[in-house]
Every structure is written in C-alpha cells, then in structure tokens.
Amino acid sequence: MSVLRRLLSSPTGAVGVALLAVIAVAALSAPWIAPGDPLRIAGPALLPPFTDPALPLGTDRLGRDVLAGLLHGARTSLIVGIAAAAAAIIVGSLVGTIAGFAGRLVDEALMRVVDAFQIVPGFLLALAFVSVAGGSLSTVILAIALSAWAQPARLVRAEVLSIRERDYVAAARVLGMHPVEIALKEILPNALPPVLALAAVIVAAAILTEAALSFLGLGDPNVVTWGSMISEGRNVLRAAPFLSVIPGIGLVATVLGVYLVSEAASEALGRGGRP
C-alpha cells in the first residue's frame, strides 16, 4: 500500500495514473455514451468535428461516429494490452522459474526456445501468426503474447538464479519442503517485483502492436480499433486529417500513461518495496 502512495506522490506517477484513469473510464462508459454498434452508419459522411452536437467528433468516410469509435477502440486497446501482457507475464514467469530452478539440462533447453523467440522480431512473429491463424481478437492477443513472453522469462530466470542461492531457500530445503512448493512459494513471489515493472512496458508494446496489426488490416474486422481507424482515415488524410489524428491522440495518451506509471512504479519499488 505504501508503494501505491509513493506511486501517486511522484508527478510522473500521478500524471500517468490520471491519464490511464480517464482512458479506463472512457472505455468502461462506452456502451452508455455511445450505445449500439460503433461500426453502424450514424450520419452524413466526413462530417468535421464540433459541428453537430449529436456527433461531436464528426464522422468518417462511411458516416460512422468517430467518438463512438474512439471510446469503443479504447476498450479494444486496453483489453488486448492487458490480456496479452498478462498471458506473456504468466507464461514467461513460469518458464523462467522452471529454467532457473530446475538446473542445467532443462534450463538449457528452455532458454534455447526463449532465444528462438527473441531472435525473430516480435512484430514479424505476431504478423505471421495472425496472417496464418486469422484476425479474431483472441488470435491477436495470442500473437502478441507469443512475441512478448521471452523477455519476462529471461528476467525471471535471472532473478530466480540469484534468489535460489539465498539462505531462506536453503532453510526451506533443510526443512524438507517440496521443490515445487519452494519454487512457487519461496522463490517466485520474490522474483516478481522487477517483472511487474516490465509488465507496463509490455502492455504499452502490446497496444502499439495491436494498432499496427489493425493498421495493416490484419486485426479483427468486427471490432473497432484505433489502428483500423487510423488506417481508414489515411485515405483521406489531406481532406479530413482529424480521422487519423483523433485515434492517434488516444493511442499516444494510452501508451504515455502506461509508460509514466511503469516509470514511477519501478522507482517506487526500487526505493523501498524490497528489503
């Protein structure tokens, strides 16, 4: 709890939390502010912003409400970012714990798999996966997780290697604790704080990857995303730049918020979260 207080007391953390809070509220309130399908035609095409009070941010080439797209797009971005990061962290932490704890052969084998995933550029991997498996929201999440789990795995392994030499792990062994229990109860919880700081970076990267996939038309076509809105607006960039600029601002604000929070969080953890 004191970590949370330190997080909010730094200007970086406060701004980041405020940004994310606004975006989260927007995402959660989307069904009430802009009810119905955000992809339906709501008015005349290419209506500029601030001209019609019913459509405050205007409409796109097909007459779809930009505000509705922005709010519903926030949902997609946050869902994809958090789900992909959670999957990557969970898989990475388990693999890293096993590799660090099990010893030579298993460690070597697992780390070579990690190497294989790290050699391929993450975005390329996600791109290849989505173009083979198809562009539903869950495959996009899976593709991003697949490209992101190697980094937390490495970090957790390094932490585990250092923690398993500590006296309290020796004490647990002398006590006769089962190795699985030692790994999950004594080692993993103490290896996690630096990984949680990394989590925010992964969330931000996942949001950007999802936007990039949608921009290339590989996202889920039934879901409105900021990436697909930017891509859509690109065709009329000179006539109606707001169509790309508005979701672009949403994207920048979200990623900036996540980064600021992660920066402040790792600082707060480093200053006294651990003994």
């Binding site: 500590r166 006296d167 020796a170 002398v174 006590l175 006769g176 604790m177 919880p189 651990r274």
Partner: protein, 261 residues
C-alpha cells in the same frame, strides 16, 4: 555409551577458486552422540560452513560417508530424504536472510508443522503459540512479519522453526555471531534449556571459542579443511596441542591471563 547419532567419515569437497581447486573439506570425520553438543571452531574459511552444508545435504560431498540415525544419509533422495530431513535441522548465521522476506512468524512455524504433520491440523494454532512461548517470545509477535521484529527475536523464531519438527540434531552455523552480546547469552541459555528438555544434539559451529566453550561438551578444531584437534571441551582448551587452537585461545581475551573463578 549409546551408539552415535551421526557418524561422518572422510568427507571431501573442493571448490573452484580462480581456476584452482581449493579443498574446503579435506577428509573430515566426526561423531555426535545423542544429547551431546559438539562445538566446531576454526578461523574464517577453514571449511566449517561447508561441513555444516554437507551434513544438511545442501552441498554434495565428493567423497566420504555420513550415517545418521543408523541410515546411510547420503543415499537418501526425493521424498524419503525430505521426510528424513525432519530429524536434522539447521539455524543459519544471518537471521534476516534465513527467512522469506514475505513471511510472518506464525506462517514460518505453520510451514514446518504442516510439512512434517507434526501435530493434527486442528492443533496447529495451539502448537505455534506453544513454540512462540517456548523460545521466549511474546504471543502477540506471532502475527508479525519477520521483517518487523528485531535480530534477536528473529533468531529465536529460527530456533523455534528448527525445534518445531522435533529433530534429533540441530546444526547451528554461527547462530549467535550476528547478535549483540546481551542477546547472545540469552539465546545460548535457551539452547541449553532445550537440550535438557528434549535430548536434542547440537553441532555448534562458530569462530568464537568463548561461545563454543560455553555450550559444548566436546570441541573439534578445524583448519584448512581438516579437523586438527578434538576432545572434551575443558581438556582441549586447557592443553591446546596445535598452533591453530593456541591462536584461537589467544583471540579470547577473557580466557587468557585473567584468573578464572
């Protein structure tokens, strides 16, 4: 005389140090009888801690044998080793490092009681309270985090954790070296009381001869990976036959020159 509780024969272990092999244990043999305290003294780096870690199966020896409670201790593995570990416990030097930083006092003791099913689950709470009281800690401390109690209290919790599973042998690796002098005496008293009550054996490892002398029945002196001198505590200190022990005795101001009452 009853059969020894632990017999170690010719234990050897080397470590790589800057490209060379350094012998931490160079043929160490020792015996510990039930209810006895064997003090193990020696300067830093003489292999005392390695011996403690070999006996607790934290470090594997390269050669030698250990028989504990009549069984071949080094042959045990897996679940049989984990079950047998109940009988040999260890108290570490640095009380803070020996506990998971997230642990609470009650949680630490509950783990020990649960792993070896020392008491039925329903009685676990009462047993924790009994242990906390036995090592001289206030009952209110049980709910506290290990990080929020003092070093002396932590070492009492470490002792409580070791005796919770009712072991036959407790290895104390510099168990009082990190504590300040006033706390040290009371911890030593506690250890002696517990021994009288339960008949537990101790292997008391320390670089401090004064402390070892206060609690040990027999003393073994280690130097460069070997036991160079061994015998009843009073005899060994009264007539040191090696230079190593002479130096250790010289290092204790209280034992030298001043007439003893």
């Amino acid at each position: 005389m009853t059969a020894p509780l632990l017999i170690a024969r010719d234990l050897r272990r080397t470590f790589a140090s800057g490209g060379r092999r350094v012998a931490a244990l160079d043929g160490v043999s020792l015996e510990i009888a039930p209810g006895e305290t064997l003090g193990l003294v020696g300067a830093s780096g003489c292999g005392k801690s390695t011996l403690a870690r070999v006996l607790t199966r934290l470090v594997a020896p390269e050669a030698g044998s250990v028989h504990f409670m009549g069984a071949d201790w080094l042959k045990l593995s897996g679940s049989r080793l984990r079950a047998a570990r109940r009988h040999m416990q260890m108290v570490f030097q640095e009380p803070l490092a020996a506990f998971n930083p997230r642990a609470t006092v009650a949680g630490v003791l509950a783990d020990a009681l649960r792993i070896h099913a020392v008491v039925p689950k329903a009685e676990r709470g009462a047993e924790i309270a009994r242990l906390v009281d036995r090592v001289g800690l206030p009952a209110a401390l049980a709910g506290r985090s290990i990080r929020n109690i003092s070093g002396g209290q932590r070492q009492r919790v470490a002792i409580a954790r070791a005796i919770a599973v009712r072991p036959r042998l407790v290895i104390l690796d510099e168990a009082v070296s990190a504590l300040d002098v006033s706390v040290r005496g009371r911890i030593l008293d506690l250890l002696v009381d517990l021994q009288r009550e339960t008949g537990v054996s101790y292997l008391f490892v320390s670089h401090d001869l004064a402390v070892v002398r206060a609690v040990s029945h027999r003393i073994a002196v280690m130097d460069a990976g070997r036991i160079v001198e061994e015998g009843p505590a009073a005899e060994v200190i009264a007539a040191p036959s090696t230079a190593v022990l002479g130096r250790l005795i010289d290092a204790v101001p209280r034992l030298k020159g001043k007439p003893q009452a």
